[in-house]
Amino acid sequence: MVDPKHPDSKQSDAIGQSFKPGTRLSMPRTGLATLFTLLSAEGFRLVGPTLRNGAIVFDDIATPADLPVGWTDKQSPGGYRLEKRADQRAFGFVVGPHSWKQYLFPPKETLYQATFDPVAQLWRQSGNAAVGSGNGAGGTAFIGVRACDLAAIRIQDRVFIDGKYVDPAYDNRRKASFIVAVNCLEAGDLCFCDSMETGPEVTTGYDICLTEFDDTFLVQAGSGRGEAMVAQLPVQPASQAEQKDLASGLARCRRQMGRQLDTEDLPGLLFANLDHAQWDRVAQRCLACGNCTMVCPTCFCYSADEVADLGEDPAQRERRWDSCFSQQHSQIHGATFQPTIKDRYRQWLTHKLASWTSQFGTSGCVGCGRCIAWCPVGIDLTEEVAAIKADAETPVPLPAYQPVPTAQAAEPFATLFATIEATVTEVVAETPDVVTLSLVMPRGYQYRPGQFNMLSLPGIGEVPISVSGDRNGIVEHTVHRVGNVSAALSALRPGATLGVRGPYGSAWPLAQTPGRPVTIVAGGIGLAPLRSVMRSLAEQDRTTVARNIDSQWVRLVYGAREPEALLFNRELALWRQNAALRVAVTVDHSTADWTGNVGTVTTLLRRKEMPVDGLYLVCGPEVMMLAVVRLLQTAQIPPENIYLSMERNMKCAAGHCGRCQYGPYFICKDGPVFRYDQVAFLFGRRGF
């Protein structure tokens, strides 16, 4: 359900946000050719429906003769056929395997380019590669956009341009697009836009809207540009009969729709039924082929990879359509969060129909039916939902959508994918496979503990690295060498430069620490994002806290696999000397010269008092955080007093590529730090 008048939408006037639709006019069929000519004359590239290989696809078109005149589509789950019509309608069909996203959000696109400067021996970002270009000098005119597809475009607007970060390429292409929409008076076999409230009537967001009859077109302007164009068409006021035909046609279309999706309480309902047997049943059929996500007009997940040829330049970072049905989508080093087909189908459906509402304020589904037609085994999501609803648990509350106030956009260093050059001043080897890089950041760079930066090495890759502290304008990043990029980062030496963008993400609740007990529980590399918290707390005025009770102190409970894996040994020693802190360290496996605690972090924590009014900050491997949280819960700690830092696969860090999703959250912008009650309904559950 799209709210077209959403006050926080940043869409420009060019796409009709604040324009009052003009009166409906009538033009003879020959007027369509005039419209094509006018658009071409203005320099628009025309794209629209045309016949190819047994389907109606979108391609470049020049005249109305290129449209599928006299053809319609017969669709069924897993089936699509063309059929000749009895009439010569040019728009007598619904939707095919293509959607308009292939023009606004192309399947493949260069995000970033860097060339090698052989004199300075370093990589420099070079130009804005392919940002919004390549669509014709005057932009692109989309001919024949259905109401559902129009809603889909506006839904993708929410993702790419209405959030905290703007995708500049999408934004440019969107501003340069001209939309000629078309009302549907005949429902397709798989349509359910009516129950999704996205159609069949075109209401807003277009430049010109057409309704096709046998002899005439109804024409309505939806924007200033549209109005200017309509003024040049052979139009006259629409007749009463035409207006009635439109109304009755739309009503008939609604009645014809053979399926519906009951969206009442759907988001909470799906998340309340994550163990429903229907997920197992659909997983038997689902091929995880990804076709549904590819044809879906709103799916936006993408992958980003280095594309660097043998020559020195340029190195490119390229994005490609990806899907939650691929294995790499949920993969980080050492873990795949959605290994089974069941996990992936459930991820897709809960994202589309549930998480999306928390993320963007609308459903992700517009009822176009493409996923049903183009699924090789004909899975129908309306049937899947109905099966779950038939015997469902009561819905759970999901986080509410938080629109981004316009003023907050464009934070420093937030231009998507553009990096700043940072220089390494110091490299400290913390353990055999962990180093801390100290980077000189530009003046004005600020971060809050818990946030991260994206560190970029052109030709190698880009990864999120937590900020682990700062000193005199130097920002420290602690890197765990787990793959090729982290290995290359670990091999940098003082004087080397790299690209940085950030800071991203949420922060630890430092504001809540004064005057209460604080317990920091860290495992392995998890101490890194917490180090700057410890430093702050070490300097905090805590005279109001009773000092003679152990539990009232600032306590660090820290564990690693073995003594060699402990981070920040010197700092640990310093903290031990600090009267304001209590430090307890343990290892899973001891060595001959280890005299400290042996056992897991939870074992150590269990021996301590856990005040219910304390604040607990936890970071480490997810299995460790799970054990700690369970322990804290048995100690009656309220969920609002527990904070975690989570990790998922991350590429854009801006909430666009979709890879870091955790249920309704994007780890990159809603996290990585979460208050436990936010994630309690999902935490510890396999498959998310």
């Binding site: 290989n53 389907a55 056929r81 095919g96 076709n291 590819m294 043998l310 290994p339 087909i341 090789p376």
Partner: protein
């Protein structure tokens, strides 16, 4: 150009194969000379002879060994073990090296009890002089392999990507996803949904760029199974569109018949 001594030493080897994957390297017409500046081919019989240039026959060690072809003779078994010993990194290219190839068909005993021995007799009047193994197997069955590049043949762009990634020290952008991803990115109309054509795309590893559907035929799985290949569900779909049991069996028992997911599915239709 750096001194020859510091270029990675690369060896290209051939076992039982048609040579198409090695040829893919020679087909990098635009990049071949540039490649020769970045790596040193110390063993590449198809492309390079050393005698004429006066250098002694090269052997290991190798920074990178590239192997094409399946293990199908006792000699080849020894060869791969030796190559592994001598190589820092070892990659296999093509369906033969990664799954046994089309010649892995001899691994299957058919309805008439025809097996490897019988095949030898069919072709050779005096089979006792033929020294082949009963099976044709991928290299990874015998030694550790650092990367398996799929394809019959492999895709030229992916080969260059793999070599570039090796030279640069980054992860190769080679995705274990379904062919459907590539097909849809390309904008091709699905042959399954629109034409009822049998197609292995949903269960096949991407990399070719989805050529077959672009030429209006179904994918025949020459890149082998992807991860999470839901072959049972696809086989059920094939049956629904009218494929017989023998046809479904043959579909899964072709160029990558030796890959476990395909082999298992083919056996379900015996």
């Amino acid at each position: 150009m750096a001194a020859k001594g510091v270029l990675p030493r690369v060896g290209v080897f051939k076992l039982a194969s048609c040579d198409g994957c090695q040829l893919t390297l020679l087909d990098c017409e635009d990049e071949l000379l540039l490649l020769a500046e970045k790596i040193e081919f110390v063993h590449f019989p198809e492309g390079v002879s050393f005698k004429a240039s006066g250098a002694a026959e090269r052997e290991g060690p190798f920074d990178l060994a590239i192997i094409e072809g399946s293990v199908s003779t006792p000699e080849q078994l020894q060869t791969v073990r030796e190559i592994r010993r001598q190589s820092r990194a070892l990659i296999t290219i093509g369906a033969c090296a990664t799954s046994g190839g089309i010649q892995a068909l001899r691994n299957f005993v058919d309805d008439d009890g025809v097996n490897h021995e019988a095949l030898q007799k069919l072709v050779y009047a005096q089979p006792e002089y033929i020294d082949t193994l009963a099976t044709s197997t991928p290299v990874s069955e015998h030694v550790a392999v650092d990367f398996e590049l799929r394809g019959c043949p492999i895709d030229k762009g992916q080969l260059l990507e793999l070599i570039s990634a090796f030279i640069r020290g980054r992860s190769p952008a080679i995705k274990n996803e379904s062919v459907c991803f590539e097909c849809k990115r390309r904008g091709t109309v699905c042959v399954v949904v629109a034409d009822n054509t049998p197609c292995l795309g949903p269960v096949t590893h991407a990399g070719c760029g989805a050529i077959c559907p672009a030429y209006r035929r179904g994918c025949y799985g020459c890149f082998g199974p992807r991860e999470s290949a839901a072959t049972e569900s696809l086989a059920a779909q094939m049956k629904n569109i009218g494929q017989s049991e023998p046809e479904i069996l043959r579909a899964f028992r072709l160029f990558t018949a030796g890959a476990p997911a395909f082999e298992e599915e083919s056996r379900r239709h015996e």
